[in-house]
């Protein structure tokens, strides 16, 4: 999240609150939800390279020695590129429940 604030003393059109689209949680757009099988995920990071939202991080997950694919569902739009591109086919999709 950005640490800056929108300044009020500047003329219109100048945005000082950098990275502020982060307050818009695009996860609400999702119809399909990608779900990672952590047992089988190798942590190769290919899904991370192709996620348009940047909401995949390969990191330490409790209960596993090796880093794994984790998805930030606050922003995941459910495009399922990660599922399509995972070379080990360990991501599946479920219909989002709202």
């Amino acid at each position: 999240m950005s640490k800056t604030k929108q300044r009020k003393d500047l003329p219109g059109g100048i945005i000082t609150d950098i990275g502020s689209t982060a307050r818009n949680k695009t996860g609400s757009w999702r119809t399909f939800k990608p779900v990672v099988n952590l047992e089988k995920c190798t942590g190769c990071g290919i899904c991370e390279k192709f996620c348009p939202e940047g909401c995949i991080t390969i990191q330490k997950v409790e209960g596993y020695d090796k880093p794994k694919c984790t998805i930030n569902y606050d922003y995941c739009k459910g495009c399922l590129i990660c599922m399509e591109e995972c070379p080990f086919k360990v991501i599946s999709s479920v219909v989002e429940e709202k």
Binding site: S2, Q6, G13, I15, D17, I18, G19, S20, T21, A22, R23, N24, K25, T26, W29, E48, K49, F50, C51, P52, E53, G54, C55, I56, T57, N72, Y75, K77, G78, C79, L80, I81, M83, E84, E85
Partner: protein, 302 residues
């Protein structure tokens, strides 16, 4: 932290599966923090900066549709006048903004030898306004202004080659890239960043699933097929010398690429048109490979 997140926040309004968003994440990460971006109107401006929000965490200026390269030239000259020789300035825009409407400004900056990076993210149409045909639209594609009908099967002109046009202006460095080959894309951005003293242009394939009528999950599949069919060549031209960065052992049939995209669906089964496109691609590759093999200095052509 995920790729590019230090420079480019999520929460932007690009459609699910947008290839331009994938391109931007890699481009912004490769550019790093010491940069100023001057960006033309288009999807990647409209979706990233709904006032008073912005996805950008590096200095970024929205210009109009026509003048990204002119504004970038001025910003760079101003920085130099202030004694700042390190900050890189990027003129960024889509195919509509850079290949067509802002082309005069791009050509002018190239011709003046401005010390800037020019980046074209090419969705092969005016995506933001509903997919009108642009100079970047490929032969045969159906768009709202080149609709496939009973008589005319989509756009009847070949794609405008902005990379070679930049070479013919004497640009210092020119490269083409594709997000399916993200490491190559990042390496080229870093190279353009490092080089100084003249214009560097990068032309990037940016699939638009909504406009192209592609399943959002297939964005990268399509991008990869563009390269494997030979339709999108990955190459760079440094000081006039051409280097092709990736040569498929055998070209995949153009049909494999077309059948994933609604914009080409009227061409499925049209063997005549597909052959015309494949032979055009073959001749292009033969010519380019000859130039590369013989080490022809393209700058000697001007």
């Amino acid at each position: 932290m995920g790729i590019g997140l230090k420079q480019f926040a999520p929460g932007h309004r690009t459609c699910a599966g947008c290839g331009s968003a994938i391109v931007f994440r890699h481009v912004l990460e490769a550019l790093g923090d010491d940069v100023i971006i001057c960006q033309a109107t288009g999807c990647m401006e409209v979706t990233t900066t709904p006032y008073p929000e912005t996805s950008f965490k590096v200095p970024w200026i929205h210009v109009v549709f026509e003048n990204a390269a002119s504004v970038a030239s001025g910003v760079k000259r101003s920085l130099k006048a202030q004694g700042n020789n390190h900050t890189r300035v990027v003129a960024m825009g889509g195919d509509g903004g850079m290949i067509d409407i802002g082309f005069g400004a791009v050509s002018g900056a190239l011709e003046r030898g401005e010390d800037i990076i020019i980046m074209v993210y090419d969705t092969e149409a005016y995506s933001n306004t509903g997919l009108q045909r642009s100079g970047g639209t490929p032969f045969g594609a159906s768009t709202t202004t080149s609709p496939a009908g009973k008589k005319i099967p989509g756009k009847q002109e070949w794609k405008k080659n902005i990379a070679m046009i930049a070479v013919m202006h004497g640009a210092k460095y020119v490269a083409t890239a594709n997000p399916a080959f993200w490491a190559d894309l990042q390496a080229k951005i870093k190279k353009a960043y490092k080089l100084e003293g003249g214009p560097r242009l990068i032309h990037i394939y940016s699939p638009c699933p909504v406009g192209w009528h592609v399943e959002p999950s297939k964005t990268i599949k399509v991008a990869k097929l563009a390269v494997e069919t030979g339709l999108w060549m990955l190459y760079e031209v440094e000081e006039g010398k051409l280097k092709i960065n990736y040569k498929p052992k055998e070209f995949k049939p153009v049909e494999d690429y077309f059948k994933l995209q609604g914009r080409f669906k009227h061409l499925l089964g049209r063997k005549d048109i597909m052959e015309k496109i494949e032979s055009h691609v073959r001749e292009w590759w033969e010519t380019m490979e000859k130039v590369e093999k013989e080490g022809i200095n393209l700058l000697k052509m001007i």
